[in-house]
């Protein structure tokens, strides 16, 4: 039987359709089938800890580093990034359009404008919390204007849509959302381009010393391939509605 590699990844890579392009390209290049389960970042890391997958593709740099430091993973390589954006209703009740992130969050706070948070410890949520912290705003948990959905990105955007709220999203998912609305989304990008909003994706092989049964050799092959020019080109060429979703950056390391 042909060999296969088991990957745990976050929903954003699957929902945007990137993996549907990456997997066949990888198989064509190496003859190895890529199978993936798309889950939250936290769950993906947990699956890795339990040796249930061979490789991870996730986007929560701090947690990833800790994962490697604790000996659960090896060979972490950054692969690509996209960026986060703050979206909201075109009427922009807190007047944040064009501001930098920190000022925008402060304005949302002072207007008590509705903000929808994922609240699920995902990469995006972690990022959002970090930004609030940098803006010097705490104690959000029980604020009336601050809603925590505990759901995936797209569902969270949908809730923001229903409620005319702001939210922080990765650009890939937003483009997908735009596509769902045939290019005329009810929520629009209001804040983007800030350095603080970078969203880095990395691959990590599960540590074969802890998990003797993982297919470490295949994992290495995947890491080699995706960081190679060939793999990076596939990422760079991936388009949705004519827009690039991810910027390959393996070479920068």
């Amino acid at each position: 039987a042909p060999q296969y590699l088991m990957m745990a990844t976050t929903t954003s890579t699957d929902n945007t359709g990137l993996l549907n392009v990456l997997a066949p390209a990888f198989e064509k290049a190496t003859g190895i089938e890529l199978r993936w389960t798309a889950v939250g970042t936290g769950k993906a890391l947990e699956l890795g800890k339990n040796c249930d997958v061979d490789i991870l593709l996730v986007h929560a740099p701090n947690k990833e580093k800790k994962f490697v430091e604790d000996g659960y993973g090896v060979n972490r390589r950054e692969v690509m990034y996209n960026d986060f954006v703050i979206i909201g209703p075109p009427s922009d009740p807190a007047n944040i359009k064009g501001l930098d992130v920190i000022s925008a969050l402060k304005k949302i706070r002072s207007h008590e404008a509705l903000f929808v948070s994922r609240g699920d410890n995902s990469g995006t949520h972690t990022k959002e919390l970090k930004l609030w912290k940098e803006a010097g705003i705490n104690g959000l948990d029980k604020e009336k204007w601050y809603i925590q959905t505990g759901q995936g990105m797209l569902n969270t955007i949908n809730i923001a849509t229903e409620r005319d709220g702001y939210t922080l999203t990765d650009r890939g998912t937003f483009i997908k959302y735009e596509a769902n609305h045939k290019g005329t989304p009810p929520l629009v990008i209001l804040v983007e381009g800030d350095k603080l909003l970078l969203n880095q994706y990395s691959v990590i092989a599960v540590n074969p010393k802890r998990c003797p049964k993982v297919k470490y050799d295949l994992a290495l092959k995947f890491i080699d391939w995706i960081t190679s020019q060939e793999g990076q080109k596939v990422i760079g060429d991936f388009r949705l509605m004519g827009k690039q979703l991810f910027v390959p950056n393996a070479a920068e390391q």
């Binding site: 889950v39 939250g40 970042t41 936290g42 769950k43 993906a44 890391l45 947990e46 699956l47 609240g119 699920d120 410890n121 995902s122 948990d141 029980k142 809603i147 925590q148 959905t149 505990g150 759901q151 569902n155 809730i159 229903e162 409620r163």
Partner: protein, 229 residues
């Protein structure tokens, strides 16, 4: 394996320390499920009687459709209800999305086929002489229906328990319609889904144990009622 042990300790912890998030989820679960099961039983038991008792053309097809609706996945129910009550849907004005009544509507749709189908089975399985006996004693059609259901009370109760269990354990509708909004529409099951998604498996198990404790409490009550009937 550790998750399970940790989970059970966690459950006891949550309950004993009166963890506010957990109690909020329990309370929300109780409100939603009470609302949905009440309407389900009020409509489902009579419909089940009609379907089980009367013969009419197309009955077999109708029965098959009801049984088919037992297989409605919660996400699909969620999507259907969402289509109607979203702001852009026909009932958007009512503001039911992300509210407890909104979720209850979805759960009602989920549980109705269960109650109808199992009640109909209970009635069909009954000795036809029982219904005749009730009628010979002078009952009107409605009184006879009630008395028949009382004769089959154990089976009807089983239908109710099955439906209630389905409702408190479902997650798709609560997630889609309720939005799993913390302090508002987060139920025990949506909280479990969230924790699991975070990789907090033992917390997921802990909340699962809390839900079961809740169900056990409800079933114990029922079991006492059953004994008296």
């Amino acid at each position: 394996m550790n998750y399970i042990l940790e989970g059970f300790i966690g459950a006891i912890n949550l309950l004993l320390t009166k963890d506010p998030e957990t109690y909020s989820a329990i309370w929300t679960t109780l409100r939603i499920s009470t609302l949905s099961i009440t309407f389900t039983l009020l409509l489902g038991i009579p419909l089940g009687f009609l379907l089980g008792h009367y013969s009419f053309p197309g009955k077999r097809v109708l029965r098959t459709i009801v049984d088919t609706l037992l297989a409605l996945p919660t996400v699909v129910v969620g999507l259907l209800v969402y289509a109607f009550i979203s702001r852009r849907g026909p009932f958007g004005e009512l503001g039911l999305l992300f509210t407890i009544p909104g979720v209850a509507i979805g759960q009602f749709i989920l549980a109705l086929p269960i109650v109808v189908s199992l009640t109909a089975s209970a009635i069909e399985g009954m000795d036809p002489k029982v219904y005749l006996t009730i009628k010979t004693l002078g009952a009107s059609n409605k009184q006879a229906a009630i008395a028949s259901l009382w004769e089959g009370r154990y089976a009807v109760l089983a239908a109710a328990i099955t439906a209630y269990s389905r409702v408190i354990s479902e997650v798709g509708i609560s997630m889609m319609i309720g939005g799993n909004i913390k302090w508002h529409t987060r139920t025990i099951t949506t909280a479990i889904a969230l924790e699991t998604g975070k990789g907090e498996f033992s917390m997921g198990i802990a909340l699962g144990a809390v839900l079961l404790a809740f169900a056990f409490f409800a079933n114990t009550l029922v079991s006492f009622l059953r004994r008296r009937a």
